[in-house]
């Protein structure tokens, strides 16, 4: 690997981490679309900043662009507060307007500079290593690396200091307010971090990928864990993995790096969406099938419990009486035998002690919905897991 290749992967990874952190909270606050709005509407800020400083990496430009990001959020909330349109409509009104102002400004004034709409949408990660930061004659690495690195350090610092406040205001804004943690301060703090991160990542990866890097890793992590800290860690891991894997896919296909990284993000989400252990589609379908079988099992056991007469408990009779298809009867019978809940004696089925106890408990639970007593059964049967 050449040093430029390493630098590109490093920049992509840092961008991924810096995006995953605010992204996790945006997803949990159901504000994913706000990141899309910010990433587009900072364009006029970038253009004005560029006219003023003639430098795409100037802190002034980042500040101006971040301010446009905040302005977007304020405008969206203002329009929404009038009660005339809903939030998604407000977002759809604000960001294209701001974005197109930026597009016009570029077309009118910046034809001869390195700032075009393509670069804005898709970024130029491949060129990032060419723009070096040189301090008193010493080359200390690509400018993008330093910019996103600084933003990342600030983001991580803020996350550590205000984790508790972020968590409580995201989960329960009402409680946060009553405890004295102003949800508005935390909200605008998060919006500021999101805007600054977006601007910092913008030059490297473009407007579209910034959104993908904020939302996709967090959405993927959300399917895998029940704990906020782990969700953050998983999101960071998915982001970094996609960044590096995406780079190599691009290298191999000789295609856009930003496009490949975004494709990787989508691909990983798809895999997790299908195969996640408890919330994945396949797990959900399997669970539903098991639950159906278990309901049948319970019906069957209850029938045995309610009928002491042998006639009712003969295998042949059961088949026609409970009125199930052969396959289903067999599945249910096997399940009951496997769990030692029934015994067969000369084709007469009867409940074992365990089966009898299980039936009583299960019926009791279904009637009372008091689930303390079936706690120990939860691990073996899907039926009791809600």
């Amino acid at each position: 690997m050449s040093s430029a290749q390493i630098e590109i992967q490093l920049i992509a990874s840092l961008v991924a981490i810096a995006c995953a952190i605010p992204g996790t909270f945006l997803v949990l606050r159901k504000m994913a679309m706000i990141s899309d709005a910010i990433s587009h509407s900072i364009l006029p800020g970038i253009v004005i900043g560029f006219f003023m400083t003639q430098d795409l990496n100037s802190p002034v430009l980042i500040l101006l662009a971040a301010l446009t990001g905040i302005l977007t959020v304020v405008l969206v909330e203002y329009i929404q507060k009038t009660g005339l349109v809903k939030e998604d409509t407000a977002i759809g009104l604000v960001f294209p307007a701001l974005f197109s102002i930026g597009v016009i400004m570029i077309a009118k004034n910046a034809n001869d500079v390195h700032l075009d709409v393509d670069a804005v949408l898709l970024g130029e990660l491949a060129f990032a290593p060419f723009d070096r930061l040189i301090i008193s004659g010493v080359d200390i690495g690509p400018k993008s690396l330093w910019i996103i690195g600084s933003i990342l350090v600030i983001t991580v610092g803020l996350l550590f200091v205000f984790f508790k406040e972020l968590k409580v205001s995201t989960f329960d804004a009402g409680l946060a307010a009553s405890l004295g943690f102003s949800p508005a301060i935390i909200h605008y703090g998060l919006m500021t971090v999101s805007s600054v991160t977006t601007v910092g990542a913008f030059d490297a990866v473009g407007a579209i990928l910034v959104v993908a890097l904020m939302i996709a890793p967090a959405a993927t992590a959300y399917l895998l864990t029940n704990e906020l800290k782990r969700m953050l860690i998983y999101a960071i891991c998915f982001g970094v993995f996609s960044a590096i894997a995406g780079y190599w896919v691009a290298h191999w296909l000789d295609a856009s790096i930003a496009g490949s990284i975004t494709t990787m993000l989508g691909f990983i989400f798809l895999i997790v969406y299908l195969f996640a252990p408890s919330r994945g589609i396949i797990a959900v379908l399997y669970r539903e099938k098991q639950q159906r079988t278990e309901v049948s099992l319970l019906t069957f056991l209850l029938h045995l419990k309610n009928h002491t007469e042998e006639r009712e408990r003969h295998v042949n009779h059961l088949n026609e009486h409970i009125n199930w298809q052969k396959v289903r009867s067999k599945t249910v019978l096997d399940l009951a035998l496997k769990n030692n809940m029934i015994q067969l004696d000369k084709n007469i089925v009867s409940l074992t002690e365990k089966g009898d106890e299980f039936t009583s408990k299960a019926i009791d639970y279904i009637i009372t919905n008091e689930d303390a007593q079936i706690e120990d059964m939860k691990d073996d049967f899907f039926l009791f897991r809600g």
């Binding site: 949990l28 159901k30 009660g83 200091v161 205000f162 984790f163 508790k164 406040e165 968590k167 409580v168 995201t170 989960f171 329960d172 009402g174 409680l175 307010a177 009553s178 405890l179 004295g180 943690f181 959300y222 864990t225 029940n226 704990e227 906020l228 782990r230 969700m231 919905n369 008091e370 689930d371 303390a372 706690e375 897991r385 809600g386």
Partner: protein, 245 residues
């Protein structure tokens, strides 16, 4: 009963987009009562609580908790929002939600430690949810979620408790468990204010009641003012509840 005033509301008016939801409310809640706020939908019951707690900004009027503004008295107040106001799919556990009750006493930046965890576990025990402490909150039943919210308020160890419809969507067992805890709180000298919907249970559960319908209709001891006259004034229809003595 020494009649110290726990909560005092003066000329409170709250409006959403210039439409008043609460109009010129004067209210004094004595210390140590278990009070129901009743009124029809849209009467401003939740709004009243939220304005007292500083979550909503009134356009006029003031609120004091033991003679001081709410901001100075946060530590004395615990709040149980409506269960539906939060996303129960949030990635966190029952214990963690209860721990959030301790955040107020910690203030900004400081993190919860062993002491806070111990308090949270005790509160979970009190509401009978200790076995579920590591359960993800979406996997709790509605009644269990409400108990978790109650535990979160208990851990604040406050003097005044505000609860927004704690009995909404819970089964009879949970309802009795919750009201018993509220009665215990009152016995310990705490003031408990509950937004309540089920008029039939008011005389049984509460000793103080406020009738609210945008304006305050009446407030006082249940035995004195919980009558058809006030109910009719509040609900606008000729209301009859039969209260057997």
């Amino acid at each position: 009963m020494s009649t110290q005033i726990a909560v005092k509301v003066d000329d409170l008016t709250v409006a959403y987009n210039y439409k008043p939801v609460l109009w010129d409310i004067d209210l004094e809640i004595p210390e140590g009562v278990l009070m129901a706020i009743v009124g029809p939908n849209g009467a401003g019951k939740s709004t009243l609580i939220k304005s007292i707690l500083g979550i909503l900004k009134p356009i006029a009027g003031s609120v004091s908790i033991y003679d001081k503004p709410y901001e100075d008295q946060r530590q004395l107040v615990a709040y149980v929002p409506q269960k539906g106001s939060v996303d129960w799919d949030f990635p966190t556990t029952a214990l963690d939600v209860v721990m959030m009750g301790t955040y107020g006493s910690l203030g900004w930046i400081k993190r919860p430690g062993q002491k806070q965890k111990k308090a949270a576990l005790e509160a979970l025990e009190k509401v009978g949810m200790l076995p579920f402490k590591n359960r993800q909150i979406s996997q709790l039943s509605g009644g269990q979620q409400q108990r978790i919210f109650l535990a979160r308020a208990l851990v604040q160890n406050a003097s005044i408790y505000f609860m927004d419809e704690p009995f909404q969507g819970v089964d009879a067992t949970t309802e009795i468990a919750i009201i018993n805890i509220l009665k215990e709180l009152r016995k310990a000298g705490k003031t408990v204010i509950v937004v309540h919907h089920d008029l039939q249970t008011v005389p049984e559960y509460f000793d103080w009641v406020t009738f609210l319908n945008v304006k305050k209709i009446a407030t006082g001891p249940v035995k004195d003012i919980f009558n058809d006259d006030n109910l009719t004034k509040t609900y606008g229809i000729n209301y009859k509840v039969s209260i057997q003595e």
